[in-house]
Symmetry: C2
Subunit: 232 residues, 2 copies
């Protein structure tokens, strides 16, 4: 069975990494059996065979694969019989673009908004690592990263514009059916909701309806995870 290493907080059920959520949804999408194994920031040794120090990492027989998009392409190539994550070169292009856009545009502002909430849910042994690495990245104390959460949320909602326009025109970002482009953005909302209540959408936002549709996919995979930590 495939093993997926999943970043988690003090509570093993609080799996919160955005790119890990992309892979979890991709595995469900393809109907593949897997074991999601809790992993924490400081457990670098456990995944050293992957060639990197971050998750997602999967182990599939003898194969170690890391980095969410590489894993998605690996799953598609290795298990072509399951429902496709991309449905052709255009869908692959869409997924790649959505991943690049989320990673380069949204990841940092959302991190700023929820960073103290993330910290509060981490395992004790991860806290020093997280504080030190993030304070170096942001150039200030965690508590100073987001001084105006109202403005930060407004900015994030504005940044979501291109995805919002897509959600207003079609049921899924991938088109008529869900695909990896949906999971690319959905992971950001899982991250935010597993760790915080600050990233909200207006009720009338087309992205709110889209999010509810993705949350319900694959037997309510996302909803179950949120409920388990009291977040839904």
């Amino acid at each position: 069975m495939i093993v997926l290493y999943e970043l988690t907080g003090a509570d093993d059920r609080r799996r919160f990494s955005p790119p890990v959520w992309r892979v979890r949804m991709a595995l469900r999408h393809k109907g593949l059996a897997f074991e999601g194994r809790p992993w924490r920031f400081t457990e670098k040794e456990t995944i050293a065979a992957s060639g990197g120090g971050t998750v997602p990492v999967i182990v599939d027989g003898d194969a170690w694969v890391r980095e969410n998009m590489a894993i998605a392409e690996y799953l598609e190539a290795t298990y072509p019989e399951g429902p496709s994550l991309f449905r052709g070169p255009e869908g692959l292009a869409l997924a790649r673009f959505m991943v690049a856009w989320v990673d380069r545009t949204l990841a940092l502002p959302v991190a700023r908004l929820i960073i103290t909430d993330i910290f509060s849910h981490l395992a004790e042994k991860d806290r020093a690592y997280f504080r030190e690495s993030r304070e170096k990245r942001f150039g200030c104390a965690l508590e100073q990263v987001c001084t105006d959460p109202v403005a930060e949320l407004a900015s994030i909602r504005a940044l979501l514009g291109p995805a919002r326009r897509l959600a207003a025109e079609q049921p899924f970002l991938s088109g008529n059916e869900p695909g990896y482009a949906d999971y690319a953005l959905h992971g950001t909302f899982m991250w935010a909701r597993m760790m915080s209540n600050k990233l909200t959408l207006a009720d009338a936002d087309p992205l709110a309806a889209w999010l509810a549709r993705v949350d319900a996919l694959h037997g309510g995979e996302a909803l179950r995870a949120l409920a388990a930590v009291g977040a839904a």
Copy 2:
């Protein structure tokens, strides 16, 4: 024959509207005969039957269609026999997302960078309209819109990151073959190059190789237009 109204400068050949270029390339892509008719900002009456005051507008028999994405979807539905602009729902999603991303992310910074060059190439009768409407939009004189072109260009190059990543992995933004997602971004570079020499890419930028590929499509449509105004 389809008529396409195309925004132009003092020189009839200097057709520069980004969304009009998307439509011109889409018409070539589908192998449809058309007449590109020069149109200027202040000729609102000419296109009033479209229901709007901006181009692109096409007239196809009795049908007036406006707005680039609506025109692309109209062409795809009306002329299904030509090569597809989207190649399925995933390609349509990709095109919609690329259009939304370019319009919301790139259009304003590129406008800032080249706005005085645009002004210098306009027909005399369009200049007052352009100056007034753009100075209102930017809240300052045209000459004050971009005070640091070096920083603006660096910012635009950084904003292009998600498209650059796509260009590094596949020959066209649409996948293995060109499509509307390519024309969505290409129009921005046509706009910039028809009117200015300020929007440059580093030689090693994967987007430079992509741009050369799109420029050469459809018998060198873009190259011919650039050469006609001494821009290539």
